[in-house]
C-alpha cells in the first residue's frame, strides 16, 4: 500500500517536473525542474530495489552534471523577446527530433512485449536479491562479463576529458603564476643580504 502510494506520488512528480522543464519560461526554473525529475526518478529506482542505481543517478546527474547546467544557465543574460522570435524557426527541427524520440520509445516499449525478457535468454541469470546486494551484483557483472565494454566506455570518457582540456587550454604570455616549489625552496640566504653601511655614505 505504502509502496504503491509512493510509486504514484513519485511517478506523478516525475511526469509533472518533466513537463515543467519544457513549459517553464525561465531557463533556471527549467533546470531546477529537471533536477526534481532526476530526483524523483531516483526515488522510483529505490522503489524497484535498485538502490545503487538510484544513488549513482543522484551523485552523477544531480550532484555533478546538473550543477554545471545550472552554472551555465545562471550566467546567461536572457532576452525573452529574442527567445520567442527563434521559436518558429526551430520548430520543424525540434518537432522532427521529438517525433523520432517518440517513435524510438514506442519501438522499445513494444519490442519488449514481443521478445523474451533479457534474463531468460543466454545472458547471465539475475542473482537472488536477498543473497547479494545489487551493488555487488552490478559490480560482478561489469567486471566480468562486460569488462571490455566497461573499460572501453572509460577510455572514451578519458579521451573526451583530455580533448576538452586540450581544446580549452590556452597559454597566455605575461601571466604571473604562483610556483609553490620556488617559494618553498627560497631561503634566507638568497632573499636577504646583510650589508654593513658606513654612516653618512649610503649603499
Amino acid at each position: 500500500m505504502i509502496a504503491a502510494l509512493s510509486f504514484y506520488l513519485f511517478a506523478t512528480v516525475t511526469l509533472l517536473a518533466g513537463l515543467m522543464v519544457i513549459l517553464s519560461r525561465n531557463p533556471v526554473h527549467s533546470v531546477l525542474f529537471l533536477i526534481l525529475a532526476f530526483f524523483s526518478a531516483a526515488a522510483l529506482f529505490v522503489l524497484l530495489g535498485a538502490e545503487f542505481l538510484a544513488m549513482v543517478l543522484i551523485i552523477v546527474y544531480v550532484g555533478a552534471v546538473a550543477v554545471l547546467f545550472l552554472f551555465v544557465v545562471m550566467m546567461l543574460d536572457i532576452d525573452y523577446v529574442q527567445l520567442r522570435e527563434g521559436f518558429a524557426q526551430y520548430m520543424p527541427i525540434g518537432g522532427i527530433i521529438g517525433l523520432m524520440l517518440l517513435a524510438e520509445l514506442i519501438m522499445v516499449a513494444t519490442a519488449r512485449m514481443v521478445d523474451p525478457p533479457i534474463g531468460l535468454g543466454s545472458g547471465p541469470a539475475i542473482p537472488d536479491a536477498d543473497a547479494v546486494t545489487n551493488t555487488e551484483a552490478l559490480g560482478r557483472l561489469l567486471y566480468t562479463d562486460y569488462i571490455y565494454a566497461f573499460q572501453t566506455a572509460g577510455l572514451v570518457l578519458l579521451v573526451a576529458m583530455i580533448g576538452a582540456i586540450v581544446l580549452t587550454h590556452r597559454k597566455r604570455p605575461g601571466v604571473k603564476r604562483q610556483v609553490i616549489a620556488d617559494q618553498i625552496s627560497r631561503t634566507a640566504k638568497d632573499a636577504i643580504e646583510v650589508v654593513k653601511v658606513k654612516s653618512g655614505e649610503g649603499i
Binding site: L5, I59, M74, T133, N134
Partner: protein
C-alpha cells in the same frame, strides 16, 4: 542510563499506541515520523548547544569570555539568538525571484537533516540501515550545493551570485576527493553499509581505520572543511570581499535555516569522520569504564557523541586559528594535490586489500 534509547522508545510507542484506530499504513507512517523526530529534535538541540560551545571555544582561544549573559554561563545564548531571529521580519528583495529565494534555505536545511537517516548511533541503532549508506550520505552532501546556488541566484545581488558560484565550484571540486577517500574505505571493508564499516573496526583502537588510512583521513577531514564552507575555505562567505556571501539578502527565519543547516552539516561531517576512521560507536579499549557501578559510560552512542564532539572542537580550533585561503590556492589544493593523491590511494588500497586477502 544503560538503556537510554530504550526509555526514549517508550514515549514513541505510547504515541503510536494512541493512534491504533488508524489504518495500518498510517500507523507505520506515524511510527516513522516519531523515529525521525527522535533524531531531529536532539540534533537541533545539539546544534544550538554546539554553536554556544564553539563561541566559547573561540572566545577562550582569543582570551575573551564569550557569551556569558543569557542564562547560567550564557548557556541560553543560542535560544535567545534563535528567538530574536524568529521575531524579525522576513525581507524579500524586490528584484528577487521570490519562490526560489524562499525555497533555498528550506532546501539547505532539509538536506542537512535528511543525511542523518543512515547514521548509526550504536549497533542496530539506525533509522535506515541502507546497503548503500555511504553513497547515500555522499549523494545528499553533493546536493547541498543547490541551496547555495539557488540562494545566490534568486537574491538578484552580485555579491550573492559571486559567492554562490565560488561555493559551487569549491564544493564540486572537493567532492571528487571525498568520493575517492570513501572508495578506499569501501574497498577495504568490502561494504557500502555504514554499520558494516564501523563493525569492521571493532575491538580496540588499534583496529581503527585511522591507522591504516591515515593520509585518507587527513584528506577527508580537510575536504570536509571545504565541503561545509568552513575556515580556511570559507570563501563563499568571505565577509571582507563578499559582505556575507550568498546569505547577504536573507533575514529572519530564512537566515536561521541556513545557519542551522550549516551546523547540522558540520556535525554530520564530524560524525562521518568518526564512523569511517575512528571506530564509530566502539570504545577505544574494549570493556574500558564498563565496571564503574550505576553508570554506563561505555554505552556505544556515548562514545560516538564524544568522538563527534572531539572533531567539532577541531573544527572550532581551526576556525579560531587559520587565515582564509586564496581562491586559486584552494583550487590548486583540491585538483592538483588531493585529487592525484586520493586517485593513487584508490589503486594502492585496492592492491593492498587484495594482497592481504581482504577481497
Amino acid at each position: 542510563m544503560a538503556d537510554f534509547f530504550h526509555t526514549l522508545g517508550a514515549p514513541i510507542r505510547w504515541i503510536v499506541e494512541t493512534f491504533l484506530w488508524l489504518p495500518e499504513p498510517f500507523q507505520y507512517l506515524l511510527y516513522i515520523v516519531a523515529l525521525v523526530l527522535a533524531i531531529i529534535l536532539p540534533l537541533l538541540l545539539a546544534v544550538a548547544m554546539l554553536v554556544y560551545a564553539e563561541r566559547k571555544i573561540w572566545a577562550a582561544m582569543q582570551m575573551r569570555r564569550g557569551p556569558n549573559v543569557v542564562g547560567p554561563f550564557g548557556l541560553l545564548q543560542s535560544f535567545a539568538d534563535g528567538l530574536k531571529l524568529f521575531l524579525k521580519e522576513t525581507v524579500v528583495p524586490s528584484g528577487a525571484n521570490k519562490g526560489i529565494f524562499l525555497l533555498a534555505p528550506v532546501v539547505t536545511f532539509s538536506l542537512a537533516l535528511v543525511a542523518w537517516a543512515v547514521i548509526p548511533f550504536d549497533a542496530k541503532l539506525v533509522l535506515a540501515d541502507l546497503n548503500v549508506g555511504v553513497l547515500y550520505v555522499f549523494a545528499i552532501s553533493s546536493l547541498g550545493v543547490y541551496g547555495i546556488l539557488m540562494a545566490g541566484w534568486a537574491s538578484n545581488s552580485r555579491y550573492a551570485l559571486l559567492a554562490a558560484v565560488r561555493s559551487a565550484a569549491q564544493m564540486v571540486s572537493y567532492e571528487v576527493s571525498i568520493g575517492f577517500v570513501l572508495v578506499t574505505v569501501m574497498v577495504w571493508v568490502g561494504s557500502l553499509n555504514l554499520s558494516d564499516i564501523v563493525e569492521a573496526q571493532a575491538g580496540g583502537f588499534w583496529n581503527w581505520h585511522i591507522f591504516s588510512h591515515l593520509p585518507m583521513a587527513v584528506i577527508f577531514f580537510i575536504s570536509a572543511l571545504a565541503e561545509t564552507n568552513r575556515t580556511p575555505f570559507d570563501l563563499p562567505e568571505a565577509e571582507a570581499e563578499l559582505v556575507a556571501g550568498y546569505q547577504v539578502e536573507y533575514s529572519s527565519m530564512a537566515f536561521a535555516l541556513f545557519w542551522l543547516g550549516e551546523y547540522a552539516n558540520i556535525i554530520l561531517m564530524c560524525a562521518l569522520t568518526s564512523l569511517l576512521f575512528f571506530g564509530g560507536w566502539h570504545s577505544p579499549i574494549p570493556g574500558f569504564m564498563e565496571t564503574i557501578p550505576f553508570t554506563d559510560w561505555s554505552a556505544g552512542w556515548l562514545w560516538f557523541f564524544w568522538k563527534i564532539f572531539a572533531f567539532f572542537f577541531l573544527f572550532g580550533w581551526i576556525k579560531a586559528t587559520l587565515p582564509r585561503y586564496r581562491y586559486d590556492q584552494l583550487m590548486r589544493l583540491g585538483w592538483k594535490v588531493f585529487l592525484p593523491i586520493s586517485l593513487f590511494a584508490v589503486v594502492f588500497y585496492a592492491g593492498l586489500a587484495l594482497a592481504l586477502g581482504k577481497i
